[in-house]
């Protein structure tokens, strides 16, 4: 095994190398299952013991999450001590998980740089958000249940990223979907929140269907759904159509989970959930699962260039879509959600570019996890101080009242715009450069996708500055509180500010740290191979300057409109584009017309057929059965004499039958 690894490591790795998997037999790495086990156990305890754990349940949740982080960090350190060539490991959980006919699968965990990156992100950011939520949810009677769901989410998300087969991944995939549903609808006594939860669930179902079909195709093609068999099984002989089919279905799954076009509509409504949920699930981790899925399936996508083009298009469309919607939203959380959508569009675009972009997609995913979670927590802090208002037109001038929130949010703001030396600069810059790398045979691609990425950066600068200025700068536009008193914004308690500060530090320095000496890209090499260093069509330095200039323009426009001049409390009518963007570019209308109404028509006709034809048959069978039963009941008179008579009669009939047959 070791010689094989060495052999592979010595190969000229200009493309994605085929990972050779070792199985962990002993040692510290065997603690890995605890990553999933601890939060799962905690969730079970909190849910099963119920109200009895109300007093300390939230601390148990925090403890479980931080314990998972400690385990994750231990595994990470162990992994660093191993030579680069043997950092792809499997931990078997069962010997025979599923043995059904030709289908054999072992449940196991894949420990490699890619999954560990996610483990660290999920557990670290997750723990910070757990701590934040202790204070944020303090007055909620169901805080314990909230933490149970958060723990459930952590366990499911870790299952998703640690699985070594698509089927186990699917378990996690559904688990995070469930946790997301439960948490969006956490305050489900509000009908619109419950509806939002349902919408997210349904949109995700469409994506899940894609994953199921993809698994079916994999089994038909490769005879297995484990990563090893599928990803190593891709060869030149596999039919291009099948590969494209699998890849497109995986993309569909990714679109559902990561709110990418055309399944993006649920993310905005998902902001109905408590803000820590928005930060953890709908910004930092779960919504990036689609990117993980694509990057994890890199060998498949590499072999299916047509599907890759679709991936890039989806990413490009979504990144513009989200950015445009973000410009028009007045709800601070929905504006952030639109920006999440847009940023994930960047990641998907990068992932679609192939080996040139995989590592950068993950890089941006990590930095985004920090600065977006930080900003969501900041938004939660603002809401906390402003009587749970979310309308930015009723904010303004909060910088003076909430210093820590202001500074930490500012770090996130500068990071997402890509202002050096903040994190986003390093990650987003790579993606824009990668988008400009020419593709053989299709020179138009570099220009089109590069320009879209560039334009996206400019719009991002505008709408994020708009959000920032409307909230923290300009004049006060406060309204009265719901209890009739004046607003008196105040800084949040320490349990909330400390997580924000930690995330702000990440927003500031993480990108620079990971980029220096291309540490991060090298770390991912065992999984993704060495990225191709191709020159973009525009040289790197001028490209950087153009990008920064566009960002500056975006900031200046936003400053003049939203900080230096009066912002109307009632939104102006606006241009038709603004109006369209406010309603998410009519996506709900489109969904209604394209999907919901035909679907309902189909359902109605099916219900009709069901009632008349199927139910009719069943009912008549049922009726005649009940009629027969009534008859039987009349026979059951309760008189012993008639019982005895019926027995005798039955016996005589039986004897006659036997005798007749014998003759």
């Amino acid at each position: 095994m070791h010689t094989l690894t060495a052999l592979v490591a010595s190969l000229p790795s200009d493309t994605t190398i085929t990972p050779v998997t070792e199985t962990v037999q002993a040692g510290v790495l065997l603690v890995a299952p605890l990553l999933i086990g601890i939060p799962l156990l905690s969730a079970a305890v909190l849910l099963l013991l119920g109200r009895r754990t109300d007093r300390w349940g939230h601390w148990l949740g925090v403890l479980a999450s931080s314990a998972a982080f400690v385990v994750g960090a231990t595994v990470f350190v162990k992994m660093l001590q191993r030579p680069e060539g043997s950092r792809v490991l499997d931990v078997n959980l069962t010997h025979h998980w599923i043995d059904a006919g030709a289908f054999h699968l072992n449940a196991g965990m894949r420990l490699d740089p890619l999954s560990l990156t996610f483990v660290l992100l999920v557990t670290f950011v997750g723990t910070l958000i757990h701590i934040y939520a202790v204070a944020y949810m303090e007055h909620d009677a169901d805080r314990r249940r909230f933490f149970a769901y958060l723990n459930l989410f952590i366990a499911a998300m870790l299952t998703l990223v640690l699985a070594n087969s698509y089927l186990l991944l699917f378990f996690g995939w559904e688990g995070v979907g469930l946790a997301s549903y439960l948490l969006i609808g956490f305050w489900n006594y509000r009908l619109d929140y419950a509806v939002a939860a349902k919408k997210a669930f349904v949109a995700n179902r469409i994506g899940d269907l894609g994953l199921i079909i993809a698994m079916g195709l994999m089994f038909a093609t490769f005879g297995s759904v484990s990563f090893d068999s599928v990803l190593n099984g891709v060869s030149g002989t596999t039919s291009q159509a099948t590969l494209n089919g699998i890849a497109i279905m995986l993309l569909l799954a990714a679109c559902g989970k990561s709110a990418q076009f055309p399944l993006q509509s649920w993310l905005g409504d998902a902001m109905a959930g408590p803000t820590p949920v928005s930060a953890l699930i709908h910004a930092a981790t779960m919504v990036t699962a689609g990117v993980y899925l694509i990057v994890r399936s890199a060998p498949l996508f590499n072999a299916a260039p047509d599907a890759q083009l679709v991936v890039v298009c989806v990413g490009a469309i979504t990144l513009l879509f989200g950015a445009i919607v973000g410009c028009a939203k007045d709800d601070i959380k929905k504006a952030l959600a639109a920006s999440t959508m847009s940023q994930i569009g960047y990641m998907v675009l990068a992932a679609g570019l192939g080996p040139v972009g995989y590592a950068f997609a993950i890089f941006h995913l990590i930095t985004h996890g920090f600065f977006k979670a930080g900003m969501f927590l900041g938004a939660g802090s603002v809401m906390h101080g402003m009587d749970d208002q979310v309308n930015m037109r009723h904010f303004g001038a909060l910088a003076r009242y909430m210093k820590i929130t202001y500074i930490t949010f500012g770090c996130g703001w500068l990071a997402i715009m890509g202002v050096p030396p903040f994190s986003g600069f390093f990650s987003k810059d790579h993606i824009i450069e990668a988008a400009f790398v020419p593709v053989e045979g299709a020179p138009w691609r570099a220009w089109v996708f590069g320009s879209v990425a560039l334009l996206g950066a400019a719009i991002t600068a505008f709408y994020m500055s708009r959000l920032f200025f409307m909230t923290f700068e300009g004049e006060k536009r406060w309204t009265t509180r719901t209890d009739g008193e004046q607003q008196h914004p105040h800084e949040s308690p320490r349990l909330m500010t400390w997580p924000m500060i930690v995330l702000a530090v990440g927003s500031f320095g993480l990108g620079w740290y990971l980029n220096a000496g291309s540490k991060f890209v090298d770390w991912l090499t065992p999984v993704l191979g060495t990225p191709i260093e191709d020159d973009p069509v525009i040289p790197a330095l001028p490209l950087k300057i153009v990008t920064l200039a566009l960002v500056a323009v975006g900031i200046v426009i936003a400053y003049r409109r939203y900080a230096a001049s009066h912002v109307p409390v009632v939104p102006p009518v606006g241009t038709s584009l603004t109006r369209a963007a406010r309603v998410d570019l009519y996506q709900d209308v489109v969904n209604d017309v394209v999907l919901v109404e035909p679907g309902q028509a189909l359902t109605r006709s099916l219900v009709y057929v069901d009632r008349t034809a199927i139910d009719g048959t069943v009912t008549s069978v049922g009726r005649s059965t009940v009629g027969l039963g009534g008859l039987a009941r009349r026979v059951q008179t309760g008189y012993v004499r008639s019982y005895a008579a019926s027995m005798l009669l039955g016996l005589v009939v039986l004897v006659l039958v036997v005798l007749v047959i014998q003759k």
Binding site: G629, A632, Q636, T637, V658
Partner: protein
């Protein structure tokens, strides 16, 4: 000239332990002071049944090696199926005993304080108030269990008949000893006795005819005689049908099923569970042995009889259950339908059939005892008195409408009951599914696919009424919200005067429930000393275990599933 047979006492040990304990139990009644009697009797019975189980376990490996021994010169056959059935019966009896012995917090068990007292008399009232208890139930249960142990192990028709009476007579008595609705209970007892006597007579007549044909009562001799025709085949045929009828009566197969609903309803609920589970195991065990070892030579002739009976049983059991409004009657009809399903496994006449039937009996017995145990816990409570204290707890709330909303007030109980119902229905991941799958698969293997088809259709129809109960418990509110009194008085009358049983509605119950019916009733779950809860938990656990991981048990049965000739 009489030579004393050599007796293999060891092989007999389970029977001896149980019957010996029963006899000691009778002595306990005479010599132990009243106060300590219940504890002594209960301990004695538990020890005896556990002892029987241990004895079965000790005999197991020997039988596995040798294939079994004949005892008492062939009167008893201790082979693999016998051991499996002994184990099953002892286990089921043990679990039932926990429910039989359990008392409510006010110290009331399921039995009349003095079964000899005239219902409604002052004497009865005095006995009730003094807390008199009928501890004879324990020896009675043990005698019945002893009979059940001998029944499937019998190696000749005379032993078979004696065992039949030994198991039946205590049951007739026990059926008439309910604490509440005593007239209904006594009526049930009377019916069971009369019809049982009728069936016994048929059975005896069948034995006489067979003896006339073959000149022997021993199974092996009869089987040999069947192989050598002697011109008296009509005698043999009629005799065989009569013997089968006697056994089919005990398992409640159509057309010998008529007693089942009335007796199941009238008997004290813990006894219903015991009877429904253990009698069925014993009787099917005997039937299995006779069909497989005595009559295989005439399987073609008797096949017609068994096919007819099986089809009628499945259909009538299912259809009958659909129109019942009383929980115990629903379960009674469901037990009839299950007899039909088990018969398909017997008709298969192959090795797989033996294993499947033995396994089915175990899972069916477990779910039956559990279900009736829960029925015993769900009670009627009289309306509040003027000062707001809740009224006294009365008898079982057996009308279906009284179970509405139980899933909300007692979720754990309702979920457990649903588990048993799903097992009856044969839903995967419950033991019932594996059991049904086994018998139907055996039937299909033997070419009896029409039977399996009807069985599957009947199961589908049966699922309807099981699921209906689950829906009733979880998705229908109680007929009055919360503590608000149910208009159960009306429902109660309906329950007892439904057209099916005029005899029950008119005389007996009207009198007894006059007082109760006047006030309004609510449904409640009674708190007990905990034995019943433990028993139900065991049943639920087994139902899940045998559904999720049945292979160890099935394999164990498979290794010994062959009869001595």
């Amino acid at each position: 000239m009489f030579t004393a047979p050599t007796i293999d006492w060891g092989a007999l040990s389970p029977v001896i332990i149980v019957l010996g304990a029963a006899i000691i139990g009778v002595l306990v009644e005479a010599f132990v002071p009243a106060k300590a009697r219940r504890t002594t009797q209960l301990a004695l019975a538990l020890v005896a049944l556990v002892g029987a189980l241990v004895a079965v376990a000790l005999l197991w490996s020997g039988v596995e090696d040798t294939g079994g021994t004949t005892v008492l010169g062939g009167s008893l056959l201790v082979d693999g199926p016998t051991l499996v059935l002994w184990g099953t019966i002892s286990l089921l009896a043990l679990v039932s005993l926990l429910i039989i012995a359990d008392r409510t917090e006010t110290g009331e068990d399921a039995f009349a304080p003095n079964a000899a007292a005239v219902p409604g008399s002052d004497y009865e009232e005095v006995a009730r108030r003094k807390g008199v208890r009928q501890t004879e139930i324990y020896p009675l249960v043990l005698f019945a269990t002893g009979g059940m142990l001998i029944f499937p192990a019998a190696g000749d028709l005379l032993t078979l008949f004696v065992a039949l009476e030994v198991l039946s007579l205590p049951l007739y008595l026990l059926a008439g000893m309910a604490r509440r609705r005593r007239l209904l209970s006594q009526e049930a007892s009377m019916k069971y006795f009369l019809l049982g006597a009728f069936a016994s007579a048929l059975f005896l007549f069948g034995i006489a005819l067979i003896y006339g044909y073959s000149g022997s009562l021993r199974y092996s001799d009869i089987a040999t005689a069947i192989g050598t025709p002697n011109g008296m085949e009509s005698l043999l045929l009629v005799g065989a049908v009569l013997i089968l009828s006697g056994l089919l009566f005990k398992v409640g197969a159509v057309p010998f099923h008529t007693w089942t609903p009335d007796v199941y309803q009238g008997a004290p609920t813990p006894i219903t569970g015991f009877m429904g589970a253990c009698t069925k195991v014993a009787a099917f065990g005997a039937l299995l042995r006779i069909v497989y070892t005595v009559f295989p030579g005439m399987s073609w002739d008797l096949g017609v009889v068994l096919w007819t009976v099986a089809i009628l049983t499945m259909v009538i059991g299912t259809v009958g259950a659909l129109v019942q409004s009383d929980m115990k009657r629903v379960l009674a009809y469901s037990s009839i339908a299950h007899s039909g399903f088990i018969l398909t496994g017997i008709i298969a006449l192959n090795q797989a059939g033996i294993t499947a039937v033995l396994f089915y009996l175990l899972v069916y017995g477990v779910a039956t005892i559990g279900a009736f145990g829960i029925v015993w816990l769900v009670r009627e409570r009289a309306g509040q008195s003027a000062d707001g204290t809740p009224g006294p707890i009365l008898g079982e709330a057996t009308h279906l409408s009284q179970w509405a909303g139980l899933g909300r007030t007692n979720p754990v109980l309702a979920v457990t009951f649903s588990l048993f119902l799903l097992s009856f229905a044969g839903i995967p991941l419950t033991a019932g599914f594996i059991g049904k799958f086994g018998v139907f698969a055996a039937a299909v293997d033997a070419g009896a696919w029409p039977l399996a088809l009807i069985g599957v259709l009947a199961s589908a129809a049966a699922a309807f009424f099981y699921v209906r109960i689950i829906v009733l418990m979880f998705f229908t509110g109680p007929s009055g919200a919360g503590e608000e009194p149910v208009a159960a008085a009306g429902a109660y009358d309906v329950a007892e005067t439904e057209p099916g049983d005029p005899s029950l509605g008119d005389s007996a119950l009207a009198v007894e429930t006059k007082v109760e019916a006047r006030s309004t009733l609510t449904t409640t779950v009674v708190k007990t000393e905990g034995l019943a809860v433990a028993a139900i938990a065991i049943c639920a656990l087994l139902t899940i275990l045998l559904g999720v991981a049945p292979s160890p048990v099935i394999e164990a049965i498979q290794t010994v599933a062959s009869f001595l000739p």
